[in-house]
């Protein structure tokens, strides 16, 4: 297997065992970027010099028997809304042209502290909303990789990096991961610090991870999860050992959400996802149809109003100075968000509370709720696809993960989305790993 095809856990093991040099790995990935990124356009900035220097240092440390952490020598990419000290961070926007932060986002800093090497910054839609990034889907360059974490998904799928940071406010991490045949997680709100990440919403911004296996996600999550005193929304709930949770994988009790999700999916997506769930059932999972609570019908409206209002507040000063520099979708979100009355905003927050409360019986009855990750495979063109299947979990803050579950007739990846209760990432990852065992990994695109 070529070096660029190896996953994060596998490379971390090889580096620890001194059978792989971080220098060779970084060179292989830079070469891969040179070969495929002119077509894929995943990377907004490749920090070749910084990555080479970090790789040399990592190699020297290995030679001396020093390992900084579980990702020693493993390269990663970060969506270009994550602050990276000394590296241009523009959020896909002319509004932030030339901005160079003075510090790393907490998640970037934690990955570096664990020995990981920042390879560069991945393209994003403007401020992680809807105005598209240039990135293309490695499975079919005519299609979007999804958004807003477009470059992160494209970079991992194109085998130019094994692990990437994305974010999700509406549907921006799990959806692109699914469109690109990856595993992607959005952890519980508050599980991963959002300090140093360009904000859209005070209560729906989540940091996420993308990789090519559940094990790689568990490895990365164990590094970035945990309390951050600099982030007021960061949780103090202890972080379990996610990798050891994978050793306890077993057939899960699955609550299948046919209502809404299968109804809104294309017949092909409903069929392929249904077949995948049948395979899980034959392999030993308990599968029952679960019923959505009454408040579900208001969650899309509530989530949209919360995000628009928050975005308007967060961008008020920049908008006052530079409205003309914003592209149409984000500018429209800001301006319509400024118009939403306070009582409607607060009512939306109350609907979130009710939805979360009404979900509790379902989350106690089942290990995971399951549904198609997206209504359809990645669409052609620049538009980044439909996020409606992620909205309820972004609003409620519940953890969700996508695992590949098949290919469409057009050869595009499809995903199975799994959701569980607050701060239950360990059993969620165990269930996802079990599903991955049954369904197989996502395969690789031909580039």
């Amino acid at each position: 297997m070529s070096l660029h095809e190896r996953g994060a856990a596998e490379t971390a093991r090889a580096i620890r065992e001194k059978t792989l040099s971080p220098v060779d790995l970084v060179e292989a990935l830079l070469k891969r970027i040179e070969a495929v990124d002119p077509r894929v356009q995943a990377w907004a900035l490749v920090d070749s010099a910084g990555a080479r220097a970090a790789a040399r240092q990592a190699a020297d440390e290995v030679a001396k028997g020093v390992l900084r952490g579980p990702l020693h020598g493993v390269p990663f990419g970060a969506k270009d809304i994550f602050y990276s000290a000394g590296l241009r961070t523009e959020g896909g926007s002319k509004v932030m042209a030339g901005f160079v932060p003075g510090y790393d986002a907490t998640s970037v800093a934690r990955l570096k502290s664990a020995g990981a090497i920042l390879l560069g910054k991945c393209h994003t839609t403007e401020f992680a909303t809807y105005d598209p990034a240039p990135s293309r889907n490695p499975w079919n360059l005519a299609c979007t990789p999804g958004g807003s974490s477009s470059g992160s998904a494209a970079a991992v799928a194109a085998r130019t990096v094994p692990l990437a940071l994305g974010t999700q406010t509406i549907g921006s991490n799990v959806r692109p991961a699914s469109y690109c045949g990856l595993v992607g997680i959005k952890a519980t709100f508050g599980r991963i610090s959002t300090r140093g990440v360009m904000a859209l919403s005070y209560t729906q911004d989540h940091v996420g991870l993308m990789a090519r296996s559940v094990e790689d996600i568990a490895l990365g999550l164990g590094v970035v999860a945990g309390h951050d005193p600099a982030d007021p929304s960061s949780s103090r709930v202890p972080v379990p050992d996610y990798l050891s949770a994978l050793t306890r994988r077993r057939a899960p009790r699955i609550g299948l959400l046919r209502e809404f999700f299968f109804e809104r999916a294309t017949p092909e997506v409903a069929q392929i996802t249904g077949q995948a769930v049948e395979r899980l059932g034959r392999a030993g999972a308990t599968v029952e149809e679960a019923k959505l609570p009454a408040s579900f019908r208001a969650v899309h409206a509530a989530a949209n109003l919360i995000v628009r209002s928050d975005t308007a507040c967060i961008h008020a000063e920049l908008h006052a100075e530079k409205a003309e520099l914003y592209r149409p979708a984000i500018r429209g979100m800001i301006e319509t968000g400024m118009l939403v009355p306070g009582d409607i905003y607060v009512r939306s927050l109350r609907i979130r509370g009710q939805f979360r409360r009404e979900l509790l019986p379902l989350l106690e009855r089942y290990d995971v709720l399951a549904m198609p990750t997206t209504p359809a495979p990645a669409p052609e063109g620049m538009a980044t696809g439909d996020p409606q299947f992620q909205v309820p979990w972004s609003l409620s803050g519940l953890p969700s993960i996508t695992v590949p579950c098949g290919l469409s007739a057009s050869g595009l990846p499809l995903g199975l989305q799994l959701v569980s209760g607050v701060f239950t990432e360990a059993p969620l990852l165990a269930a996802a790993a079990w599903c991955e065992d049954v369904l197989g990994r996502g395969g690789a695109p031909t580039l």
């Binding site: 519980t188 709100f189 508050g190 005070y202 209560t203 929304s233 949780s235 103090r236 709930v237 408040s295 019908r297 208001a298 899309h300 409206a301 509530a302 949209n304 109003l305 628009r308 149409p328 429209g332 979100m333 301006e335 319509t336 400024m338 118009l339 939403v340 009355p341 409607i344 607060v346 009512r347 939306s348 927050l349 109350r350 609907i351 979130r352 509370g353 009710q354 979360r356 409360r357 409620s396 803050g397 519940l398 209760g421 607050v422 701060f423 239950t424």
Partner: protein
């Protein structure tokens, strides 16, 4: 109140406010997004929120 009627009333009010804040030309550009927003507002306003449900900001800690 009927939801469609409520939605139309919200849209009228939002468009007037958009004209006041951003000018008539910009308010016209925002028209379709304002219609979406009015639809969301009508859905949220019509949903019978339980009296005991306070605004929820963060996910509650796992016990």
């Amino acid at each position: 109140m009927d939801r469609d009627k409520r939605r139309a009333e919200y849209a009228t009010g939002l468009k007037a406010e958009a004209e006041r804040r951003f000018g008539a030309d910009r308010a016209k550009v925002l028209g379709p997004m304002i219609d979406d927003t009015a639809g969301f507002m009508a859905e949220v306003a019509a949903f019978p929120v339980d009296a005991d449900d306070a605004p929820a900001f963060y996910a509650e800690p796992a016990s």
